[in-house]
């Protein structure tokens, strides 16, 4: 039997951990977002990211990819302008 000792870089991205989420998921209000990037730094999954687009007040806003979000709520509790709301799953 052949056993591989090495793995291809970054391959865990095929594991979608979004189904770990049980209670809440984040929703970013793009009009409130000031593009400070704190959510990107504090997200344990690293899936908050700048979209490269601007909202009506000219600020580059962030989005998050729920495919991997485990729903910890760190982004919402750290957001300085409270632009992220944790909504109940299934609503």
């Amino acid at each position: 039997m052949k056993i591989l000792l090495t793995a291809k870089p970054g391959t865990t991205s095929q594991v979608k951990t979004g189904n770990w989420r049980e209670l809440v998921y984040p929703v970013i209000d793009i009009e409130k977002c000031i593009g400070c990037g704190i959510c990107e730094r504090v997200c344990p999954e690293g899936i908050c990211f700048p979209t490269g687009e601007k909202n009506s007040s000219g600020k580059g806003f962030y989005a998050c990819d729920l495919n991997w979000c485990k729903g910890c709520g760190l982004c919402a509790s750290e957001c300085p302008v409270k632009a992220i709301e944790m909504k109940e799953e299934g609503k």
């Binding site: 591989l4 793995a7 291809k8 870089p9 970054g10 391959t11 865990t12 991205s13 095929q14 594991v15 979608k16 951990t17 979004g18 770990w20 998921y25 984040p26 929703v27 970013i28 793009i30 704190i38 730094r41 504090v42 997200c43 344990p44 999954e45 690293g46 899936i47 990211f49 979209t51 989005a63 998050c64 990819d65 729920l66 495919n67 991997w68 485990k70 729903g71 910890c72 709520g73 760190l74 919402a76 509790s77 750290e78 909504k87 799953e89 299934g90």
Partner: protein, 313 residues
């Protein structure tokens, strides 16, 4: 299901050095620190990793979350492995172009690997040792390590009639590192992400063995809410319970931090130790009776002594 509602048109670019899909708990402090460190160190880095959460969660066979060369060995081995990698880089003439990072938890650093880490420091290898300090063997079920603080409840130090949790004081790893005459020794907390980034950058600009200890709350082990990870990491610093220090060539240095206030300590306003202990289930037994109050006073004394010793305010 809810994916359809939230900005579905944006796909994560996966631009970090650590990909999602790892099995770290929701709100894990260690993985935040790992991402900050790896992003700062960049792709030209070789990482050796001790056994622990940082290894188990990121590399489920046959996958890995890392985009850089990464190698795992047993608890005690990453430091000598880094020495070997440096020797190989030297033969290839690449030793100035590649960063060598050693990552270990507090069990691997404070207990099991300390002899070999001491050897690596004594040889003066050009490595950066990152210790993510979550104050117990959280990966195997919250057994106490020599980093576990006084009075904490772990599965091997349960509180009861005759005991109030762990009776040992936390090992002074910073003092041990300083005794090796390292050019750079520092502590940081994930509660201040910019400080972590700045310290990694600074450490990598210095040649020689470096030591950086990052305070990482553990959600299940400490019994905190996932969303409180940052708050607990910050209140530990603000109360003086976990001193944030930075030594260059053995000198305690002071500078303004990126988030304002003195980075030397990061204590911008002092909070009481209760504010730090209250959200954690591992200290819950201290809030039950009168004896607990006496124990809290002892922990407050430890924090006050830290503030005085490292001149945090």
């Amino acid at each position: 299901m809810s994916n359809t509602k939230n900005n579905i048109k944006y796909k994560a670019p996966l631009s970090h050095q650590l990909n999602p899909g790892h099995s770290a708990c929701a709100g894990c402090g260690m993985i935040i620190a790992a991402r900050l460190v790896m992003d700062t160190a960049g792709p030209n880095t070789i990482v050796t990793n001790a056994t622990g959460c940082s290894e188990v969660t990121t590399t489920q066979y046959p996958m890995t979350s890392f985009k850089m060369p990464w190698i795992h060995s047993l608890f005690e081995n990453p430091a000598p492995m880094a020495s070997g990698i440096l020797a190989a880089l030297k033969v290839k003439g690449l030793e100035d172009k590649v960063n060598v990072l050693v990552v270990g938890g507090d069990g691997a650093t404070f207990d099991i690997g300390i002899g070999l880490i001491s050897g690596m420091w004594e040889r003066g290898e050009n490595t950066l040792y990152i210790c993510y300090d979550n104050e117990a063997y959280q990966n195997t079920g919250y057994q106490s390590s020599s980093s576990t603080p006084f009075d904490a409840n772990t599965t091997t130090t349960p509180p009861g009639k005759k005991s109030s949790g762990s009776q040992q004081l936390k090992k002074d790893m910073i003092g041990i590192a300083l005794a090796h005459n390292l050019p750079y020794v520092a502590t940081a907390s994930v509660g201040n992400t910019l400080d972590v980034v700045a310290k990694v950058k600074k450490a990598l600009s210095i040649k020689g063995p470096k030591y950086l200890q990052i305070y990482c709350p553990c959600v299940p082990g400490w019994g905190i809410e996932p969303k409180d990870t940052m708050n607990v990491a910050r209140s530990a610093v603000q109360s003086g319970f976990y001193p944030i220090v930075e030594y260059i060539d053995g000198e305690l240095v002071s500078k303004k931090s990126a988030q304002g206030g003195s980075a030397l300590g990061g204590v911008t306003k002092k909070v009481s130790i209760e504010e730090f202990l209250k959200p954690q289930k591992r200290f819950k037994h201290l809030f039950k009776d009168e004896n607990g109050k006496l124990e809290i006073a002892k922990i407050q004394k430890i924090a006050d002594e830290n503030i005085e010793k490292y001149k945090l305010i």
